[in-house]
Symmetry: C2
Subunit: 321 residues, 2 copies
Amino acid sequence: MSVQEIKIGDLNPHAFIEEQCELISSQVGDSKAVNALSGGVDSSVTTILAHRALGPRLITYFIDNGLMREGEPESVVSAMRNLGVPVVLVDSRNDFFSALRGKTDPEQKRQAITDTFYETVFGRLVRESGALYLLQGTIYTDVEETVAGIKRQHNILAQLGIDTEELYGYKVIEPLIQLRKPGVRAVGKALGMPEKMYNRPPFPGPALVARVIGEANPERIALVRKATVVVEEELAGAGAFQYMAILHEDRVTGMRGGKREYGLQIEVRCWDSEDAVTASPTPLPFDLLLKLAGRLTSEVPGVVSVTYNVAAKPPSTIEAI
Amino acid sequence: MSVQEIKIGDLNPHAFIEEQCELISSQVGDSKAVNALSGGVDSSVTTILAHRALGPRLITYFIDNGLMREGEPESVVSAMRNLGVPVVLVDSRNDFFSALRGKTDPEQKRQAITDTFYETVFGRLVRESGALYLLQGTIYTDVEETVAGIKRQHNILAQLGIDTEELYGYKVIEPLIQLRKPGVRAVGKALGMPEKMYNRPPFPGPALVARVIGEANPERIALVRKATVVVEEELAGAGAFQYMAILHEDRVTGMRGGKREYGLQIEVRCWDSEDAVTASPTPLPFDLLLKLAGRLTSEVPGVVSVTYNVAAKPPSTIEAI
């Protein structure tokens, strides 16, 4: 791994911002750059940093892949526009669901998202825009985990020896690659972002696909989206690092109206963690867990069973797939 | 439903025992009866009751189906022999695993166990014994749930309109069919059974097959058996109604030794309940849940994730399949 980590104790956010803005600006020069905003902390910080560096030389896209949380495309785009950053909203839901059809293997699902994102959707946008540079919010933990083979992040192509210029026609710039999450948050704060934005709980690149075991079709994504609304409402105040609802593929026996119903199970995970490298399940009050289960079984169609993750990372990982 | 429940408040255990012994004895007359002891409260109480009624006219079999908990066949048989009840131990593991091969649907798995039990194994034993009567530990809740279509119990054939005499060549006697679990325990106590036996947590008829989502082959049964040892050790003191480990079929991402491992998940359920009709998850201390997860991920090969059930019955059921 050739990337050098900047420890949080060694980070001067304002100096970092200035330095990265100069680097980005000089690298892009008179050409244009594009980036894709996902709404997560990393991509939001990257967007604002790049906007500060490039102004109108930057085109920021928000790609609605159909895999986001309830109301997310609209709220992310409008929050960014409120900060003066123009964002182009692109509806690519059909592209992603077509690519995911029939796929149940986690690696194949991630690969389908990567390929659709880079080749189908972003490739087209970049070609149309004439941009030569792509800005990405890759952070140090992504590199570490991908190199270690734990997870295949969708945004660390260079580290895997993939030449994006040859393959997709553009160069990748990753201004946050030396930082871990706390460093990224500190930079976001120093950039003047609202706390809600820089302290947002992490959300995976493959979005709700990472929260569906088995095929991620529109119906199953809609179910996990509903479950995510409930979990986020109930756990927003828990002070946790990250929390999520996972729709299982396994079916379990339940009963409704006195009749047997072979139904769905939702697993809830809520993590205490500093930097996602290690994490432990948040000791939520039992009443809150029962309330969560009650809401999920009554508000999400077909759900008869709810579990709470109690295994630490490692040997678990934060996301299930 | 033509069976009349005896409420716990109306039950006189000693009078009940005397009455049932007379009924059993007069029904069997000079012929012979057989029963299968599983080690659960219902079948143990039935065995002792029938032994008291019939003495040497009763043959009690313990059928080792390969689906029992660690050391269970040996400990159940020796506990019963210590009470003066002779038991014949029959090794039928191959019959059951052959019947279960390739089956993943819960109903088909239950059906395979029922058919193997009645047609293959017990049918043969009954024919060889010359017995005309079969004693079974069916209780009132089994009838209720099966009639309601919630679960297919393996031991309520008559209630489903199945003529066992025509189909299998014997008549079924169900002395406990008017009682719920607390009544059965009271009868067990009045019969002089050790408390460990009459207060034993319930265990399902299909044994560990009910604790494996997907195919129940010898390898997967061995994994859930190991998990069951851990869960029973840790939760024996929790004062719960029933507790269990369930091996899921879904695979989830984990990491071990810094490497990605696409591994197994164990779900732990622990129930507070009076009679299994309704039940709520036991509010176990969080430290105990973490300890359970730590032991399960280190002691059961391939397990990277552990969850705890937090949904009540209904809409959940006590067992997962």
